[in-house]
Amino acid sequence: MGGNSKDIKGFVSRNSIWLILIILILAVGVIQPKFLSVGNMVTLISGEAVRGIMAFGVMFAILSKGIDLTIGSTAALVAVITASFAQEADYANRYFEGGKPLPAILVILIGLAIGVVIGAIYGAIIAYTKIPAFIATLGGQLICRAGAKMYSDSPISKLTESYRFLGHAKIGPVPVIIIVFFLMFAISAFLLTQTRFGKNVFAIGGNDQAARVAGINVERTTVLVYVWCSFCAALGAILLTGKTGSATPASTGLNYELDAIAAATVGGTSHTGGICRASGVLAGILILGVINNGLVMLKVDDNMTNIVKGLIIVGSVILDMRKNAKRV
């Protein structure tokens, strides 16, 4: 019996984040019942999908005791480049005057490839020069944003429906973006728990010296972490441009890395490395979604929304650190 109650306690403690999410949803729902409608839940999740996918990327970086600040800028660069290849042929303000849009699948593959290459570059810089990830990715952030602005000085829009499919289309009542989001959740959870790569990242985050002694190729794993992170950013960019129908060099993805880091953090990913659960990060994303969506519906002022967000981010980390300290 005693063991049983301990199990329950452990389960609740491990999943306290979901409890917080449910309480939040109910609280907003009681005040504004329309919040709970299926339509609004679809709106909520599709609104968070892009940042959510980025969070699934950055959680690997945080788990390995790193960070990725380039996400939003990588997204901007991928967004403007892919969008420029996907504009309708008859649009007067085309980026490539008089050209034709490339097939969507090709454009998307180009975008993802750009993401992978960018991630490999700064992943290699972090792994082999040993400079802090914070610095390497801060540099990357500036360079990618500038690259996006150099590529185009104005928004690129009128994109083909086939390019916008992932971000914009619906299959029946379900937006494709939501399907992509949950698919990416499943893939990252699988990567994290079921593959050697995931286990290696856990090991590096826990103690990189021990990981090295245990025969893990720390450098290669680190590069792969940032490749994955950047891949998620590129996919996010394609969804975002699909959803909004426009890629804006100066503002697309601006500060998205911070939202992604916040979601991963609220979801219990430890910045001291070695602790991360994909389900927790999913809950973290949804909590931020409830705040973004719900507080608008409750007619709460924008500044207040950000104050609540800030409190939740800090509060959740304090809770987590105490919990993890107890466990040790």
Binding site: Q32, K34, F35, S37, G39, N40, T43, L44, S46, G47, Y91, A92, N93, K149, D153, S154, P155, S157, K158, H168, P175, L240, K243, T244, G245, S246, T248, A250, S251, T252, L254, N292, N293, G294, V296, M297, K299, V300, D301, D302
Partner: protein
């Protein structure tokens, strides 16, 4: 030896940064254009100024991007003053910093463009402002909505407002003037939701308005710019609503905004003339240096009360005149 090499390298680097487009002549005017940031509109404005300079000839002009940092604006002004330039054209990041900019400019002529210093008493024969009167931009939106609802015979109107970045003068004026003109047009207006602050950004606006579209009653959507109006259009399409079913109004007449009016998804927008503002600012700088009227060589006119303000007019854009604004 080592030192001097370093100094040379620094000089070479700064020469690149503050590089000039045209070869220098003895009686050239030297100017720097300082932009708050480089979005579509401001880039067009910048080009309006540099193109005008190229057309006049004999003007060395360089441009800087302050990346929305007021401190950088001041740094660029000081650098231009130290380089002995003749004039600066400033697109303010923070309207409150106008006096500091004038002080930093020293003997240089100063033209503020697009964003007016909040304290207009700092303007004088050496410091002028060239821009568009934001009270009229929102006014055109308000008049349009008043006419639209009066024609329908509806006086109680609920609106959703998508606001730009708070604290910027033009955000406040656009919002104030659209609401005032709706009231003046005899409408009984009520806000359907708390004002959404979407920072002039399309994606942010789309995200913020999405939860309201199917859960709130509203008769029209007012946006402080086209990007946010288009975000609202996308959100409506996402929710399987017809954006043409209610009037959605924007400001700026960007290429995308014009296209949306042609598509019928945007009801109207207001054209702000970026090329005119850039050109007007450059002409004002040149005219000041040559001791002429600020507006000489342009079709613009000075404000009736403050002679140091030059207005570049706004123009409303509807489906029936949209063809005039296609680029």
């Amino acid at each position: 030896m080592k030192m001097s090499k370093r100094v040379l390298a620094c000089l070479a680097a700064s020469a690149m940064v503050f590089g000039v487009a045209a070869p220098a002549l003895a009686d050239d005017y030297k100017m720097t254009v300082i932009m708050s940031s480089r979005d579509e509109f401001l880039s067009t404005l910048e080009k309006g100024a540099t193109d005008a300079a190229a057309e006049i000839g004999g003007i060395e002009i360089s441009t800087q991007d302050a990346n929305n940092d007021p401190a950088k604006v001041l740094q660029f002004i000081e650098a231009a003053a130290n380089a002995g330039e003749d004039a600066v054209i400033i697109n303010l990041v923070d309207a409150e910093t106008g006096a500091e900019c004038v002080e930093a400019a020293g003997d240089m002529k100063v033209v503020f463009v697009n964003r007016c210093p909040s304290d207009t008493s700092i303007l004088n024969e050496n410091v002028v402002y060239v821009g568009s009167n934001e009270m009229t931009s929102g006014g055109f939106q308000g008049d349009f909505l008043a006419d639209y609802f009066n024609e329908k015979g509806q006086t109680d109107v609920k609106y959703i407002l998508l606001q730009g970045t708070l604290g910027l003068v033009h955000t406040t004026q656009r919002t104030e003037s659209v609401l005032q003109h709706m009231k003046d047009g005899g409408l009984n207006i009520e806000e359907a939701a708390a004002p959404l602050v979407a920072d002039y950004d399309r994606a942010t606006a789309q995200e913020m308005i999405a939860p309201l579209l199917t859960t709130t009653e509203y008769d029209c959507i007012i946006a402080n710019n086209d990007a946010m109006a288009l975000g609202a259009v996308e959100a409506m399409l996402d929710a399987d609503l017809d954006p043409a079913s209610i009037p959605i109004v924007g400001i700026d007449a960007t290429a995308d905004g014009i296209q949306a009016i042609k598509d019928g998804t945007l009801a109207m927008t207001v054209f702000q003339d970026p090329v005119g503002q850039g050109m007007g600012a450059l002409m004002a700088a040149v005219n000041m240096l040559e001791g002429k009227e600020f507006t000489e060589g342009t079709s613009f006119s000075a404000d009736e009360e403050n002679p140091y303000i030059v207005w570049v007019p706004f123009e409303p854009v509807y489906p029936d005149n949209v063809a005039d604004y296609e680029k």
